[in-house]
Symmetry: C2
Subunit: 365 residues, 2 copies
């Protein structure tokens, strides 16, 4: 893998990742006149919920469903410069122009929110990167092919290591929001990576469960869950190194969790063989998601890595892949019970979902 | 308030609530031929997140956006029987025909989910009620007027007491999902009440914070938050008994919390005067939500009451009122950061939102 770091016109970093067989010089300058990126995000502490919330009100002006011929993630063409100065690319990563969190953030903030002594306030420090999976606007991840998908895995590993090394970062989260139905504002195939200066609530809760389970039972909760699911009725597909299953207490209409057979904390810890094996299973299940209904399901793919510092030895890397679509044309909405109370009601049966996904024909037509 | 309990053709309970000035006999029979309600919900324990999830796959066939002339919440007319046998009504409550949780649920379930010894399984015991605010299909809560709104408050109190008395119920949650944009499947003005056999995750988290704060500081976290907000810059409207403010660490584009001045655990504990004062403030803020943008904002109104048993003395009743709409035509989607990690990114500034809502003209045109 070749990795070239450059700067965009406003100072943001852009990284080109090219496979070893097709090394390219990445020297094209960004010729646009761009205003400097202004990030005034704040983190505020919700004392009742004991959670941080990022207040990123400057993002209201971000690009929203541009026409296909104005896509900012396409490569540049003469007369139409985009976020990527080169005229073609393989995988590209750059800092988000409308970041929720940024390293170049206003650091001089008051200690608490106005009139709220318990609502601790911190600068919106962190980093938000965009990962373009291909320069082909009309492709989707499921169609990338194993070589390109493997390059993306290596990019996730590279970015996890790089962002984990930033002082103050506690968690690195690669994810993909896919499909206009779930609010994706750019249709070009891309994912994102958020680097948070705190542990996200989901990670905190799972870590607490693992520690409580060890204290009470002397055993590894992750290992017990994975062992049971690997030989259970909800496996959709598996190979030597990875298993994709519908979790027993699924909260989304279509949800899979992909666990490696060997316990590792994060993507950088995966061997070459495990990365190739992940690509096999992931492209398989993405194909099943694409063909389960009349049109491809929207989805969120969400990497659950170990924290950067605290609790690495307790974690087991996994990918959560889920869709809000509960039936053709019908979305699951997070209404009163879920958004108000955090109490999930699932409209599908986990064993049925596993069987449906197993039965999807995945052979190319 | 007059309260009449009757049964629908399939055995579900229906309750008519009429104000004292217009007492009516509610004796009309439900003449429909209805199949018995079949509820096969299960609760499954997510061992990693330490949360219960309700699996309610039978709800996939529920009524979805019927045409206005087939609304099941309208009063019955000759030749068109609905869920409400009477030809007019004030406020009506009945058991949901497609309940996520029910008292008449299959009790004989295995102890754990198939192949998942850690995923404890319990019957989907509980109760889901529908609350029709008016028989006028085209009205909304903001237009009910103070008398009818007050009757609804009394109904919430009645139902909270009644459902709290059911053995096994731990939490009673009245809420309203409002607006097709957030997935409401029936447009007739109505809310719902869920009675859960467990504490919802939001309540568990807040209770833990209150207890931790008392142990560490010897003081009442709720009181400190409410005291600060009542005199702070995010108040939108208030009277002697209630204050509506944007929380300092808001997680929704438009969010208000309505707290009573006096600490009470739940709706039944409110005095007559406090109930009237709530109606004043609530109709005011609903009007602001309706007029803030070009079209009325969709919203979720979510009552945060004390648990039925554990932690009543720690709780402070409040209503959370929030909208997913972040700008005209633009919704906030719960994508990777929120749905994957539980880490909220808010696109609006809480102090700005408070000012915008204060500036909405609420006088009737």
């Amino acid at each position: 893998m070749n990795r070239t770091s450059r700067r965009l016109a406003d100072g943001r970093e852009i990284l080109y990742f090219d496979d070893d067989r097709h090394p390219v010089e990445r020297t094209t300058e960004d010729t646009r006149e761009l205003p400097p990126v202004s990030t005034r995000s704040q983190l505020r502490y919700d004392a009742l919920l004991a959670e941080w919330v990022a207040i990123a009100s400057h993002r209201q002006t971000r690009t929203f469903l541009p026409p296909a011929d104005e896509c900012p993630l396409d490569p540049s063409r003469p007369g139409r410069p985009t976020e990527i100065p080169e005229s073609e690319y393989q995988v590209v990563v750059f800092e988000n122009r409308f970041p929720s969190l940024a390293t170049a953030v206003e650091r001089d903030v008051p200690p608490t929110a106005p009139g709220a002594p318990l609502a601790e306030l911190r600068p919106g420090f962190g980093r938000c990167e965009v990962v373009c999976f291909t320069d082909d606007h009309d492709r989707v991840f499921a169609e990338l092919g194993p070589d390109r998908a493997r390059l993306v895995v290596d990019v996730w590993a590279d970015r996890t290591e790089a962002m984990s090394a930033i002082d103050g970062i506690e968690y690195v989260f690669p994810f993909e929001n896919h499909g206009e139905e779930i609010g994706v504002t750019l249709s070009h195939p891309h994912g994102q990576i958020y680097a948070y200066p705190y542990l996200p609530p989901r990670v905190e809760k799972i870590l607490a469960s693992v520690r409580r389970h060890r204290a009470e039972n002397g055993s590894d909760l992750f290992a017990e869950v994975v062992d049971a699911e690997r030989s259970g009725p909800r496996v959709v597909t598996a190979n030597e190194h990875w298993t994709a299953f519908v979790p027993a207490a699924t909260r989304w209409p279509y949800e899979l969790q992909l666990f490696p057979t060997r316990r590792v904390p994060d993507i950088p810890s995966l061997t070459d063989e495990e990365r190739d094996a992940f690509v096999d299973v992931y492209l398989d299940v993405l194909g099943r998601f694409a063909r389960r209904m009349d049109t491809p399901m929207p989805y969120i793919a969400s990497w659950n890595q170990a924290p950067v510092h605290d609790g690495r030895e307790d974690w087991w890397l996994h990918l959560q892949l889920f869709s809000f679509r509960r039936a053709p044309g019908k979305l699951k909405y997070l209404a009163g019970s879920e958004s108000g109370m955090g109490a999930f009601i699932t409209d599908t049966n986990p064993e049925d979902v596993a069987e449906q996904l197993r039965n999807v024909k995945v052979t190319a037509e």
